[in-house]
């Protein structure tokens, strides 16, 4: 029987191909995601192994703050270098720095992307422990010279002797390029840009005189790395607060930190690949259900000649396993291509992630094939059981293919899901946990999917009404065909439904967030212009520039806002840093209690909800530990409604510390009689000298801040695109099978005078009605979900729901087009129906 099943499976190549297609698409995203993750992980593995290859020990400060987006560590005093060099077993040691420095191109624009690989400033040294190898020219010496990594030099078309402008903590300066260097054997690690100086210049320009980020140490080979680290540790002064790691440890730690950050991305991608797989499941299930129905006679014949129920069921399961294996293997192959497409997509929206080569783990292959095969087999179980139940007599009689089963049980189950979902949603609207919201959304989706077959008929009839009006009897048949098998229509439309619901709710969410951003910036930002950089947390506009702008005669006031990582109580957030002296009337925190202009250097402001959550009323104190290890007791001086972040401190707090202070944006108000042109000219003169930052009017700034949401939305759309493709393929497959199933009917229609173009019209409109059924239910579901999510996240800062009307119209038009596209091939096939063989063969 097994061999027979196998033979029967392979004999139907068309069906095999169709079913495989669904599985290929479903599994390819999963494979693509895991290949992509593996590739970026191994890229970083290699990168850091390269970077720390010659490092035997790594000395750094013990003070750090981990914000969850990578660790920020305090600088180390240069004086420790002497101590390290004296340790027995140390052959060389050098200060290392990876601080913010941005090279300005010859066109006046900074090199590197705003959110691309980092732009670093570092130390070039002749020490054997240094990581940079001079390729041409010589090492920089003194405050006027610098060196560039080869890749950056090439990208900026800089040659030795050029003068290069670099923006860093202490502002923008001009240096003479004296050398070009390679990093080990690579031109630039990970696509980052590097501006290199001698140690004193680097410390003074990038960080703080007398300090470096860490020390790289090379042993003389007499001690193991562990012994060397131990020896250095015991020599270090306790007051310097330094620690020593082995080369292996620092490699491992850096790599795992990067991987942790990338983990968010891969989890996100995996979530979408499971959505695609879930949508694929519907298509697979649908194909098996239809083919099982179509081979009812074959199954009945097998039963009549003595096959047991189990054997008939098993034969379909065998088919599923074969198709599942085949489809998942092909899916994996397609996934390889898809992983490249993922890189391209992330690049296109500005999330540049370096990937080199292609890393394919055995485990990725195994898991893709396993998941694909299991899911296919599971999808086939119900149809297989159903075909096992076919009575042998069915072989002898004309079997009715359009079986309308009773829907009562389905309606009850669907309603139960729906009601439970609605209860959960209502609860979450009234402030229940976010998890409840998730459960509610899932239950509502499940309820709608279960109810699908019960509503598909009336909805398809309704949607088909205009078609029937416009297209006469051809349209009526499209309408009837879309409605004749409610289960099939519902299953075919389900992928469209899920895709459209997700797109709609994300669009609604994005529209609401945009509205919220506009309102929030609109109410906090009272000035005329904003100068901003898009690199929160790493570098930005040195605060000295802010003060320079403030001094301009055209400018009334300029105030900067920056962010700095710190430990506050038991959290490690980015703390908002502003200047209370200039912020008044320009950057309004929307205070609930207290005055932002009164904020002193020993005080902190809290977001209202945070203050309640952490039980920190006004007057209480909270412990704040800065990156440099300084621990402060700050007094809560007020609460505010809304800002970037839950904690705000005065920039005075950092005066005289080693903490580099940058502003992410500067708000500017001009004096009364200055023209727009003159104001821009004056401010640009300073920002152009800086080389970084975008100057925008208030309206432009609000627009561009709100538009940042579009980047996120574009990513979501990109990831959902594959689900849309699967939905289209699902419709194609169903239509092909339906056309095959109705060949008698089509043959008859052709015989009594239906033209080929009428046949095409008939199939096309059936497809459009099916697709629109999915889209309409999806839009309704998506908007409901969107509303609920927006309302329940209200506390987190999103208030008021914005209905994305234009997007909804676009989605509906898109679904219409999907219907038309999906019908092209099946409609063509339908016109090829042989009249004689479909009619005369009795």
């Amino acid at each position: 029987m097994f061999r027979l099943s196998l033979k029967m499976t392979l004999a139907r190549k068309g069906r095999l191909l169709l079913t495989s297609l669904a599985i290929i698409l479903g599994t390819s995203f999963l494979a693509g995601t895991s290949i992509f993750s593996a590739t970026i992980n191994s890229t970083f593995d290699r990168l850091f192994t390269d970077i720390f290859r010659d490092v035997d020990a790594y000395v750094r400060s013990t003070n750090s703050v981990d914000t969850g987006f990578g660790e920020v560590r305090a600088p180390s005093p240069v004086s420790a270098l002497e101590i390290i060099l004296k340790v027995d077993g140390v052959s060389a040691a050098v200060g290392d720095m990876q601080s913010y420095a941005r090279v300005i191109g010859k066109d006046g624009k900074p090199l590197g992307e705003d959110q691309g690989p980092p732009t670093f400033g570092g130390i070039a040294s002749s020490s054997a422990a240094g990581l940079w190898i001079v390729e041409s020219g010589r090492l920089p010496m003194g405050a006027k010279e610098m060196m560039l990594d080869r890749k950056t030099a090439e990208a900026g078309k800089f040659v030795i002797g050029d003068s290069v402008r670099v923006n860093a903590l202490s502002g923008t300066r001009e240096f003479s390029l004296v050398g070009i260097a390679n990093y080990g054997d690579v031109s630039s690690p990970g696509g980052a840009t590097f501006a290199l100086f001698d140690q004193p210049t680097a410390s003074e320009f990038l960080l703080k005189p007398g300090f470096v980020d860490a020390f790289l140490v090379q042993g003389d080979g007499t001690l193991s790395d562990e012994e060397l680290a131990k020896a250095i540790n015991s020599a270090l002064l306790p007051s310097d607060k330094l620690e020593t790691l082995t080369g292996a440890e620092i490699t491992e730690e850096t790599t795992s930190q990067i991987k942790k950050v990338l983990g968010f991305l891969t989890t996100f991608l995996t979530a979408f690949s499971f959505i695609a797989l879930g949508i694929g499941c519907f298509v697979i299930y649908n194909v098996f259900s239809i083919t099982a129905a179509q081979r009812q006679r074959e199954s009945a014949l097998l039963r009549a000649i003595g096959a047991s129920r189990r054997q008939v069921t098993n034969s379909l399961i065998v088919e599923a396993v074969v198709v599942g294996l085949l489809g998942s293997i092909l899916g994996f192959v397609v996934g390889i291509g898809l992983s490249q497409a993922l890189s391209a997509l992330l690049n296109a929206i500005g999330l540049e992630i370096p990937t080199s080569g292609l890393t394919i783990n055995m485990s990725a292959i195994v898991s893709t094939v396993l998941i694909g095969t299991i899911i296919t087999t599971l999808s086939a179980i119900l149809p297989a059981l159903r075909s096992g139940r076919v009575p042998p007599l069915a072989a002898m009689r004309e079997t009715a293919l359009d079986v309308v089963t009773r829907l009562t049980r389905r309606v009850i189950i669907g309603l139960i899901f729906l009601i439970l979902g609605v209860i959960a949603l209502v609860a979450s609207v009234n402030g229940a946990d976010v998890k409840i919201l998730g459960v509610g959304v899932l239950a509502v989706f499940a309820g709608v999917l279960v109810l699908g077959p019960a509503i598909s008929r009336p909805v398809a009839m309704l949607l088909g009404k205009p078609v029937s009006k416009i297209r006469g009897v051809t349209g009526t048949m499209s309408q009837q065909n879309a409605a004749r098998n409610p289960k099939r229509t519902a299953r075919t439309a389900a992928p469209v439904l899920i895709g459209v619901a997700l797109v709609t709710s994300f669009t609604a969410l994005a529209a609401s967030i945009k509205g919220e951003i506009r309102e929030s910036i609109g109410s906090s930002f009272r000035g005329d212009y904003a100068l901003s950089v898009n690199s929160r947390g790493f570098g930005g506009i040195p605060i000295s520039v802010t003060d320079k702008i403030d001094q301009l005669p055209e400018v009334a006031t300029a105030t900067g806002v920056g962010f700095i990582p710190a430990k506050v109580g038991d959290e490690s957030p980015f703390v908002l840093v502003f200047n209370p002296k200039t912020a008044e009337g320009l950057y309004d925190l929307e205070m609930i209690d207290g005055r932002q202009s009164d904020l002193g250097k020993d005080e902190i402001l809290l977001e209202q909800d945070k203050a309640i959550e952490k039980n920190l009323p006004i007057g209480s104190t909270v412990q704040v530990t800065l990156v440099d290890g300084r621990t402060l007791q700050l007094k809560v001086a007020g609460t505010y409604k809304d800002a970037y972040g839950n904690y705000a401190v005065s920039r005075e707090l950092f005066e005289g510390t080693a903490t580099p202070l940058f502003d992410s944006f500067i708000y500017i108000s001009t004096v009364a009689d200055v023209s727009d042109k003159n104001a821009r000219k004056a401010i640009s003169a300073i920002s152009a000298d800086l080389g970084v930052g975008t100057l925008e009017s208030r309206d432009e700034y609000i627009d561009s801040q709100a538009a940042q949401v579009n980047q996120f939305l574009a990513l979501i759309y990109g990831l959902l695109f594959l689900s849309v493709v699967i939905a289209i393929v699902g419709i194609i497959i169903t239509l092909l099978l339906s056309v095959f199933e109705r060949k008698h009917e089509i043959g008859l229609l052709r015989a009594v005078g239906m033209t080929r173009s009428q046949v095409r019209t008939m199939v096309r409109w059936e497809s459009v009605i099916t697709s629109l059924f999915g889209a309409v239910t999806g839009v309704v579901l998506g908007i409901v979900t969107g509303v609920v999510i927006v309302i329940s996240l209200n506390e987190s800062g999103i208030s008021g729901f914005t209905l994305p009307i234009t997007s909804t119209i676009f989605i509906l038009i898109g679904s219409f087009i999907i219907g038309v596209l999906a019908a092209v091939f099946p409609a063509w096939r339908a016109t090829r129906t042989n009249i004689i063989s479909s009619i005369a063969s009795n």
């Binding site: 009897v473 048949m477 009594v752 009249i835 005369a840």
Partner: protein
């Protein structure tokens, strides 16, 4: 012969399937005409080519060589679209099974060829046809709600609805019990006698054939003989000779 009296004819019609050793001559140089206003039958054993002849004359299938005419129209000169239009307007069909579109009700099935051509048709005529098949009370029913005999009556009504030049019926009673079968044959007879229609019926049943005015016998793809004014006994008798 006066060609205006001929509803359809075949001239030296051959239909060959396969080639070389596998060659099958389903029709071998057949020339035949079907008179206007008459009920003709094509008889012959299985594999005699009777269905192929009907399919080719009706424009459902193309000949390998020879010509077929509906009225004065040479089908070999028409494109697929033109043949489709011709079938829709000038030819009616009744098949053994799969005659009706399951998603349309009886009335919609009857007027289907007219609707496909975006024509309203002659309402009085359609009413007369429906009266003749006496299915007035079932017009809103779907085919699945009709008996086999009722379905075939709807099919006959559909074939008549456009007042075609000629109606082809392929074993129209093949799937029916004898009562329903004779009902259908009586309707077809009346359509010819009272409504002045032209019908060509393919059958292997002598009783059915005896309803016709004229029988063409086919064997091995060739005309084996013709008979006018048949009775069941005459037909059976003839078939016996044919078999010898």
């Amino acid at each position: 012969m006066n060609s205006t009296n001929i509803a359809a004819r075949a001239e030296s019609a051959s239909k060959i399937y396969g080639s070389g050793e596998n060659e099958v001559r389903a029709l071998d140089n057949v020339s035949v005409s079907f008179e206007r206003g008459k009920f003709s039958a094509i008889m012959g054993p299985s594999g005699s080519g009777k269905s192929t002849l009907m399919h080719c004359v009706a424009g459902l299938d193309a000949l390998t060589s020879g010509k077929v005419f509906i009225g004065e129209t040479d089908l070999s000169e028409l494109s697929d679209k033109e043949i489709t239009k011709l079938r829709r307007e000038k030819v009616g069909f009744v098949f053994q099974s799969f005659n009706l579109i399951p998603t349309l009700n009886a009335y919609e099935n009857i007027t289907l060829p007219l609707s496909l051509g975006k024509k309203l048709g002659d309402e009085a005529w359609i009413k007369q046809v429906i009266d003749t098949i006496s299915l007035n009370d079932r017009l809103n029913h779907r085919p699945s709600e009709l008996s086999g005999g009722q379905q075939q009556r709807v099919a006959v009504a559909r074939a008549l609805a456009t007042q075609p030049e000629i109606i082809f019926a392929d074993e129209p009673t093949g799937n029916l019990d004898s009562k329903s079968g004779s009902d259908i044959l009586k309707f077809m007879r009346r359509a010819v006698t009272d409504l002045k229609q032209t019908i060509v019926m393919v059958t292997h049943d002598a009783v059915s054939a005896s309803y016709a005015d004229h029988i063409v016998f086919l064997a091995d793809g060739k005309i084996a003989g013709e008979m006018t004014q048949p009775t069941p006994d005459k037909v059976l008798d003839y078939l016996k000779h044919l078999g010898e």
